[in-house]
């Protein structure tokens, strides 16, 4: 499905290729050096960072479009990807602003160009293995980089609000679903997965209680190896029990009622 179109082509002919007035934006989370990261694009024509997004081909399933955008940007397939909210404020895009951007690109468009219409966007979030991602900017961006979640202040359009909502959703998901398989390397230590939870929740957890709880779910298992080389006592390595992990994904974790 990937189509290498020039930016000019997209702008001029996009109206024929894509669904009108509808876009999607991806919040791509990674985990590295005990920090949650988000993949952002630096735009060519605006001095702002943005979430990687895209449009939906006229005959494309919307989930597939999200998968495609992710693949184009990270080179990864088979990714944990989830739709979480629709952003439909009528003024979420600024027409004049966009016109200006196009001017900077040296492209003149008709007043009724599809890109100048109001857009409603579907937010997706993805959890990916930081180490595997090869960030790739596209024709409309000059950079594609991981940003530290907590340092992100302002983004293009309403993308900061989209990011915030994604994080909020992720936090809630933590109670219903196992998490980490897509964010951690194959083998990891207990302190590492704890840091992941702490980072998402933005909250300190007791080391011993965390271990008891995460093990009680049953979707991670201890290996017979330890991670040597650290400054202190070598921690055990763990890995996900994929069978139980997927079972837990389907059936949910607890659910009070």
């Amino acid at each position: 499905m990937k189509q290498e179109t020039s930016i000019k082509d997209t702008i001029l002919k996009g109206g024929k290729l894509f669904m009108p007035s509808l876009s999607l934006d991806c919040v791509i989370f990674g985990f590295h050096e005990n920090e949650l990261k988000v993949l952002l694009l630096k735009m060519k024509s605006a001095d702002a960072w943005a979430l990687p997004g895209g449009f939906i081909y006229k005959d494309e399933h919307i989930e597939e479009a999200a998968t495609r955008v992710l693949r184009e940007r990270t080179g990864i397939q088979d990714i944990f990807l989830r739709q979480f909210h629709v952003f439909g404020h009528p003024k979420r895009a600024d027409k004049k602003f966009h016109l200006n951007m196009l001017k900077k690109d040296g492209i003149s468009v008709e007043k009724d160009n599809w890109l100048l219409q109001r857009f409603i966007t579907v937010g997706y979030y993805a959890l990916v293995d930081f180490a595997v991602v090869i960030p790739e900017p596209d024709h409309s961006s000059i950079a594609c980089e991981w940003h530290d979640l907590h340092t992100i202040r302002e983004l293009f359009m309403d993308h900061k609000a989209i990011l915030d909502k994604a994080l909020e959703t992720l936090r809630l998901q933590l109670n219903h679903e196992p998490i980490g398989y897509n964010l951690l390397p194959t083998k990891f230590t207990m302190p590492e997965i704890q840091k992941l939870y702490e980072t998402i929740l933005d909250k300190q957890l007791d080391r011993r209680n965390f271990q008891r709880r995460i093990l009680s779910f049953g979707f991670i298992k201890r290996l017979k190896e330890t991670r040597k080389g650290g400054a202190h006592k070598a921690p055990y390595l763990y890995s996900f029990d994929l069978k139980k992990y997927k079972k837990a994904l389907q059936e949910g974790l607890q659910g009070a009622w």
Copy 2:
């Protein structure tokens, strides 16, 4: 914002009024006689029941559009309404089927009429007080009625899948948020609110444990009256403590982590 347009006008001129290719559908839940009800429309041109849905005016916030649809159909304002999923399968509507429907209506349209395009729809669910609703069909439907949730087998297009997803979402919400203020009358008994929970969860709950738990949340309070007239011991009446209810709505109920 309400516009009384004839069905013909909508079909012919809708393209100028509404956002293209985007619709919304509402799953309106009510509770009556210990049963969960869903408000459905009987369509004029197709022999099928459908969820009340609508389109988004070109300058209208999508949440506002959902509110409007709900108001038009139920006569209710200030409703609990929540977006829960986007349905974006490219084949979710059948073009030929739609053409046939229009034929039945005696309306001939161009091949590129906006209604014949592919539509992506945003699902909303609403919780309303059954007793207050005045179901109103619109120009494209011949009936608007409450249906018993468990008797609904098949619906128009993919509306059954939308309904199922709404119910699944509602079940999950039960763990995070107080519920019932929008579904129950002002005063209610403990068995009544328990039935509500049991109906949503489709699961029996222990009477005594339920009471202990629901009271521990603090958002309902016991009144000094009892409901006399029943065949047996008169149960106490309860009402929602709106202040604590709203606080719980914002902060969430428990959240294991």
